[in-house]
Symmetry: none
Subunit: 373 residues, 2 copies
Amino acid sequence: MTSGDNQPAAVQTDLPLDTVIEDDCIAAMNRLPAGSVDLIFADPPYNLQLKDALHRPDNSKVDGVTDAWDRFDGFAPYDSFTRDWLAAARRLLKDTGTIWVIGSYHNIFRVGREIQDQGFWILNDIIWRKTNPMPNFRGTRFTNAHETLIWAAKSADKSGYTFNYQALKALNDDVQMRSDWHLPICTGAERLRDGERKAHATQKPEALLYRVLVAATNPGDVVLDPFFGTGTTGAMARLLGRRFVGIEREPRYVGIARERIAKVEPLGADERAVTKSKRKEPRVPFGVLVERGMIKPGQTLVDGKQRHAARVRADGTLISGDVIGSIHKVGAEVQGAPTCNGWSFWCFEAKGDLVPIDMLRQKVRAEMAGAVG
Amino acid sequence: MTSGDNQPAAVQTDLPLDTVIEDDCIAAMNRLPAGSVDLIFADPPYNLQLKDALHRPDNSKVDGVTDAWDRFDGFAPYDSFTRDWLAAARRLLKDTGTIWVIGSYHNIFRVGREIQDQGFWILNDIIWRKTNPMPNFRGTRFTNAHETLIWAAKSADKSGYTFNYQALKALNDDVQMRSDWHLPICTGAERLRDGERKAHATQKPEALLYRVLVAATNPGDVVLDPFFGTGTTGAMARLLGRRFVGIEREPRYVGIARERIAKVEPLGADERAVTKSKRKEPRVPFGVLVERGMIKPGQTLVDGKQRHAARVRADGTLISGDVIGSIHKVGAEVQGAPTCNGWSFWCFEAKGDLVPIDMLRQKVRAEMAGAVG
DNA sequence: GGAAGGATTGAATCCTTGA
DNA sequence: GTCAAGGATTCAATCCTTC
């Protein structure tokens, strides 16, 4: 050996920029120089603890996350693993650096507590609201429609972290960006395939990493991802003119990531300008008016000509004679019509006038206008 | 003393229903009978004060916040408090009961991990997206626009918790309710005032509790709130015909809550009715349809796409080729599927149309509902 | 060629009751 | 405790087939 004879794990003096290290993430991080990284993005195993197979109502089988890398023998080994990789990551951060960790309710509370215990200072928790999540097929819970990201500085007194407030505001139609982000999951052409199967069970969408990197790094900054997978972080870093270091244990993923990133054409400095996205008018369920007390359970609604009446139930359905159902369904049935727009059909009394319930919906939408749909 | 002389904290045999107990929540919970509560809603202190004044358990002030180890000391009393009140709460829950806890990133990770460590089984984490959050005035972070609720069963193997799936679906325009809820914060007339100032710093909106109670309780269920505050949980419980027990230490809040709840006019039984899940409806064996002559022995049933056919036998079983069995079993076998709901799969011909046999079951159920007893 | 309809799929802790 | 049987249950987006 020509160097580091007395050091079992020699610390390198330079970062291997824009490369993927094929190794265990803790061992690899411990070889990198302390205080050298501007941002860490980590997508650790979630420890899902799935039991039996799950089928959709059409009897097709759900392809769950059964990979060995997501299996732990309980909370204690998972916590120990979390403690170790977070400590290694913290050592690598510059004092002005920040860390992002993504997870679900299976693991995020354990990760979040450990982040606080190690002295990180949480800046935000961010909710990735999925536009197209997998439904709850058995009707036993709420649709698990989001994941949580934690954004934290190295410590409470370390100021000077990067937050590109104006860029994020511009990304959000000139309204301050909120802690809830509405983005699709990774599908279609973006989803990497390995023959017929998906290449990775949990590939993250590029739009998510795009927003993280625009928000919390500047061009030329170094981004480390210790659970690199198929390299979404590296691809977006290259696109946006940031440097990256990826660490990934599985050789198959490493190969896919390298190939993927090589194809990315970096944006020019002037092309990094943000693009605006259109917003649809948000859907407002009738039940929301009931929950908010704008319409009371038991209240009577009538049509504009007062030929039909219906009473409101606690869950936002209407009842008229034998007919129970949505404002649209009951409106159609009482008229003997195939369809009905309940919003314009049903009215309530306000100061002696009959007012369509759609007026209340408009009120709710006006309140929501500040929020990102 | 006239009772419980030898018991420092006598356990009461009955719950003091629809009352507010003025006491420390742990002491009060320890006096209530085990396994007596259907749902717990808890809005514990968020531990927001950490950054400005950090104190050790002995109340000495930590000098500066540069030392991560000291910060851990700051978390310790909060964790200990969390452990104690959660344990007391868990003792009170029925095996079929569930708990809801609301918090922000300051405390929710610590609470969530403790919930898991005590053996609760998380069913969902719910994001309350605020329509009108306070902006981040200094432009240093994302607008903190949400809070997190954790919904958990008493343990992983305890089934039978209440989830009114169909009611929630109805509240949401007939698509299943997601884990992200979009609701306004508590303002306007709903916000209780004590003279000029708001009566409580963190009063929760009634719409939030309305949804929690409709989702996870039935009329008559007992709801416990150990951090009762100004009694939003009690007010919504009374409105919806649930029983409540509130615990609150501050006499000022207790008085406001009692006064507030007394003004609530409960909904009538028919007004608070919600769409029931089919699981809760009375079981009607297929054979009953045959006995009643609604389906004839020898009659042919087909699936909606007319790919499969089966003949009805006198005992209410079906036969298709070699396969004999229940409507479900034969439906599954002919499709080569693991399971099948025969009620929606099999159809009969009526006036040229194919109608699912479930329509006949609904007819029978309607007749049963009309007959008393 | 294009529209319409069917098939596929996604980080999932996904049933209840009675013998 | 186990095991068998009844029967309840899906949304959005993309891709493919058919007309």
